[in-house]
């Protein structure tokens, strides 16, 4: 398995892990009555902003750990430089990712249109963001393995 494929696998698992843990903590706070996300929409903004910060810091730590482990396991010191194939793979994967995110957002709007509670748009936002990231990384693995 190449460095890029491993990097994308790590991204998928770290995305799932970070989002899962953060969502679980928020859900526990909701159950404990610290806030009510079904009516307090401003809280969603606060939670999502904090999540962005937490996610960036956690990913940096995970990436450093991954790089160290990979360097020890493969005896390779350098990260492969990005060339035209890597850029094309990223471009196509980002396109797929945007389709998923846009689709999720439209589904959220549709949910509002058919009378679902307003907080569903935020749920759709979070879920489509997570799914689009998974699709981005999975697409990269797919293109690296199957060719473009």
């Amino acid at each position: 398995m190449s460095y890029r494929e491993k990097e994308n696998l790590v991204n998928i698992f770290s995305g799932l892990l970070i989002t899962g843990i953060y969502a679980w903590i928020i859900y526990q706070k909701q159950l404990a009555g610290q806030f009510d996300l079904t009516v307090n929409y401003n809280k969603w903004g606060e939670i999502l902003l904090v999540f962005m910060g937490v996610s960036i810091v956690a990913r940096i730590i995970i990436y450093i750990v991954f790089h160290i482990i990979n360097a020890i396991a493969t005896q390779a010191e350098d990260i492969p430089k990005e060339d035209e194939r890597d850029k094309l793979v990223k471009l196509k994967s980002t396109r797929n990712s945007h389709y998923v995110f846009s689709g999720g957002f439209v589904l959220g709007i549709l949910a509002l249109a058919i009378g679902m509670p307003i907080y569903w748009i935020f749920v759709a936002f979070v879920v489509s963001a997570l799914l689009s990231e998974i699709v981005d990384n999975a697409s990269q693995i797919y293109y690296y393995r199957r060719g473009i």
């Binding site: 890029r4 060339d83 035209e84 194939r85 890597d86 690296y144 060719g147």
Partner: protein
């Protein structure tokens, strides 16, 4: 319409050039070894610029390294 594929003979050319490794070729043309592997396995068609750089390493014309062939059943098109 058949599948259009760009084939190449980079592997043979490497061996005839003092058994040049994929890494050496990659370094000379400025891409990763994985990209050379993908080109040799015909999983990736390089850009025109990269194709010219590869051809120049082997002192060949572009057609001396890469050749275009449509899928079976459409060879007379």
């Amino acid at each position: 319409m058949g599948k259009k594929v760009i084939h190449n003979n980079i592997r043979q050319l490497r061996f005839s050039k003092d058994e040049m490794t994929q890494q050496q070729l990659a370094d000379e043309v400025g891409v990763s070894r994985q990209t050379i592997v993908a080109i040799e396995k015909e999983k990736y068609s390089p850009s025109l610029e990269l194709a010219f750089r590869i051809a120049r390493v082997f002192d060949r014309s572009l057609e001396g390294v890469f050749f275009y062939q449509q899928g079976e059943g459409n060879n007379n098109e």
